[in-house]
């Protein structure tokens, strides 16, 4: 039997706090991560300490660390030298607990060197930033340094290039700095590995692993007052490569036990069921354009679903805007099982449901501490998605107006007509949802807001508002309250009591449903979340333990059997960078 496909999406907090520890003269470095360079420098998600100055014709090392809550998989620096008209990009590489890179010596000329930093998640969304084009970090480039030369952590300062060194000339830069620090050499080796043909080569064992792997396990649980319990263990794995490629996979199991009123009202008993679902996805986005594909399979005794999608991602305006377009298609086969656990083969009874989904979104940097995004989802469904277990009680024209809200099973059985037809929903559905998200970094906390408007051609209109305020409690602990409000109208054909005109033969409503999720309702929810970073002092985020708990109250405004539902949803997640 088909569980209502309740998503046990855990209430994972999405924070974006960050810090940069700059690779500048050690004497200038502030352990608190505060900028110490002269002049007003921008702050932001990354902790940042710009250098006091840089030397002309000498690579400028930049090293950042990120301590925020987002899963930053890529960090870039946009920079513009004194004689450059356009911003150029430098992809930082994994370096120790942070990210590092060198601005080519050819771009380092006397005058101001401007730059700002952006962090992206695996989906290519900008999730953290420090500075922006209008308010960049500024480092004066001089012919002769007055203090210590900047360098990457633990490394030596890069050497000045030979005359004529040009931007991007790694060989010359390398030749000019044979004695750069260890981390500088590592960065250069990373660049060289990208230029090499694939396949094993002598000496490859000395190369850095350019990929980062991560994995997480989670145990989620759901329970509500309608006697439905779901336990969901899951595992996720991912790998990201500095070239901009990422691969992710997940697998989960839903163990459902239900004795809801919808089951009891048909004189059936509690049932249990197991659902398994897996996903795999990949994204390749080496620069400002990327493509991604993915697929999913979900199987339970009476339901089989599989699908795939493809998307493209494009950055505009120096990544201040990122657009995403995707299309996905899926095929569902809906069957039926008996109370005893036996299932009817799909070849004997099944219904097909085809689904096409378009997705388009814009993510944008509002200012250096605020991010926003707008996403539009359009889904077109074709097929009979009526529940093959759900029979709808019919009432005479005289009785229907007297059916009380929340009428009991006994009351309905005593007053309904003999006919109780199967649920019948329209065979096509067009759905659209517009979602806006806003995140703002405050002093010691991050506020995240989300609003989603939904509309479909069945007449259902809904609004969902979600807010999360994540507080940093030191460098290893985050805690957040969470609030959610959802309200929706019913579909046009919704009736608490459907009428059958039996006096004139057969006269039934063509569309009829008992699915409370299609009726008018209001849900209020709230909860708490906490995250602890358990890694070493050098990399506390390597191991993360997260616990979330949410409670929800739903008021069903025009339904049979139940008028309210309370539910709890919790998840415990352990994640590690391998």
């Amino acid at each position: 039997m088909t569980f209502s496909r309740r998503k046990l999406a855990t209430a994972v907090a999405m924070a974006f706090t960050a810090s940069i520890v700059i690779a500048w003269p050690a004497s200038a470095r502030d352990r608190g991560g505060k900028p110490t360079a002269a002049g007003a420098q921008p702050s932001g998600d990354f902790t940042h300490a710009p250098a006091a100055e840089g030397q002309a014709n000498t690579p400028i090392p930049i090293y950042v660390e990120y301590a925020g809550g987002e899963q930053v998989t890529r960090v870039i620096v946009k920079y513009k030298g004194a004689q450059m008209e356009d911003w150029r990009r430098l992809d930082l590489k994994r370096l120790g607990v942070g990210w590092g890179g060198l601005i080519s010596c050819g771009d380092v000329v006397p005058g101001p060197m401007r730059y700002w930093v952006q962090g992206f998640d695996e989906g290519g969304d900008a999730v953290a930033t420090s500075g922006d084009p209008k308010d960049p970090f500024i480092v004066p480039i001089v012919d002769e340094l007055t203090g210590d030369a900047p360098h990457l952590p633990g490394g030596r300062p890069p050497r000045t290039c030979s005359k004529g060194g040009s931007r991007g000339d790694k060989g010359e830069e390398r030749a000019a700095s044979p004695d750069t620090g260890e981390d500088s050499e590592r960065l250069e080796r990373l660049d060289q590995t990208k230029k090499r043909p694939t396949g094993p080569h002598k000496g490859d064992e000395n190369l850095e692993d350019t990929a980062s792997e991560r994995a997480s396990i989670e145990l989620a649980g759901y329970n509500d007052s309608d006697h439905i319990t779901v336990v969901t263990p899951s595992v996720n794995m991912g790998i990201d490569n500095v070239s901009g490629a990422s691969l992710n996979a997940s697998y989960l199991v839903d163990v459902v036990s239900a004795a809801s009123v919808d089951i009891v009202s048909t004189a059936s008993r509690r049932w249990e069921e197991v659902r398994q679902a897996g996903t795999v996805s990949g994204l390749y986005k080496p620069h400002d354009f990327g493509v991604g594909v993915g697929g999913s399979v979900s199987s339970e005794p009476d339901y089989l679903s599989y699908g795939g999608y493809a998307l493209i991602v494009k950055d505009f305006d120096e990544k201040n805007w990122t657009a995403t377009f995707g299309f996905g298609a899926s095929h569902d086969t809906i069957g039926r099982c008996g109370i005893g656990g036996g299932c009817t083969p799909f070849s004997v009874f099944s219904r097909d449901l085809e689904r096409g989904a378009f997705n388009g979104g814009l993510a944008f940097v509002i200012d250096r501490i605020s991010l926003g995004s707008v996403t539009l989802d359009v889904v077109i469904e074709n097929g009979d998605q009526s529940k093959p277990y759900r029979y709808i009680p019919m009432f005479s024209p005289g009785v229907a107006p007297t059916v009380p809200k929340g009428a009991s099973i006994d009351w309905v059985n005593a007053n309904r007509l003999a006919e109780r037809p199967l649920e019948q929903l329209p065979l096509e559905r067009h759905r659209a949802a517009l979602t806006g998200r806003y995140a703002r970094r405050l002093d010691g906390s991050t506020l995240r807001l989300e609003e989603r408007f939904y509309d479909d051609d069945w007449g259902l209109v809904a609004s969902t508002t979600d807010a999360r305020w994540i507080f940093d409690l030191g460098t290893r602990f985050e805690v957040w309250p969470h609030a959610r409000f959802h309200a929706q109208t019913s579909v046009t054909f919704w009736q608490r009591a459907y009428v059958s005109e039996s006096s004139t033969g057969w006269n039934l409503p063509e569309y009829r449903t008992g699915d409370r999720e299609l009726g008018p309702l209001v849900t209020i929810g709230g909860g708490l979340g906490a995250r602890v970073y358990l890694g070493s002092d050098a990399n506390p985020q390597r191991w993360t333990l997260q616990l979330t708990w949410d409670g929800m109250y739903t008021s069903f405004l025009d339904d049979l059997y139940v008028t309210e539902r309370t539910a709890t949803l919790g998840a415990l997640t352990f994640q590690g960078q391998l």
Binding site: D317, W321, V348, L508
Partner: protein, 187 residues
Amino acid sequence: MGRGAIAVAAVLSGMGSLAGCSTVPSDLRIGIDAPDGSEQGFGPVADYMDHRCGTLDCHGQVGRNLRIWGCEGMRLDPTDIPQCSRQLGGRATTPAEHQATYRSLVGLEPAVMSTVVAGHGENPELLTFVRKARGTETHKGGALITPGDAQDNCITSWLAGSTNTMACATAIGFPMFPALPTDASAE
């Protein structure tokens, strides 16, 4: 924002128009191309179903989607007892009980029933209750009839528009299900 972002906005707008379709009407009604509901046409079928499927622990319950009334199970008149014999204080199944069973059975799958009847009963297995009775679909009561036997002929002849009363009379000789009380409640 530039031309790129404007183009993106235009595409988003176009996508939004995909969903801007007319809303499903709220008051559409349908009828059923129904099989014979007369006493002559359905009475024998109802009596057979009462005997075979309508015991009080199976479909002789008000909570069932398919309700079956009759003197061997659930009675329409609360003063009646589940007993057909007058000597034992009961009375035979009434026409009103036949009609109630008819409404329950025919009303289960209105559209499918219309299809089967329009096809003169050619594909009775389109109906869930036939598949369950034949055991081709999961049924708590198991497979009760075999295609081509008297029980099956009783039902399919009715769906085809000409009830085989002889088959129904023979079918009623099949044992009541379940033979002994168990907790097997049929769905």
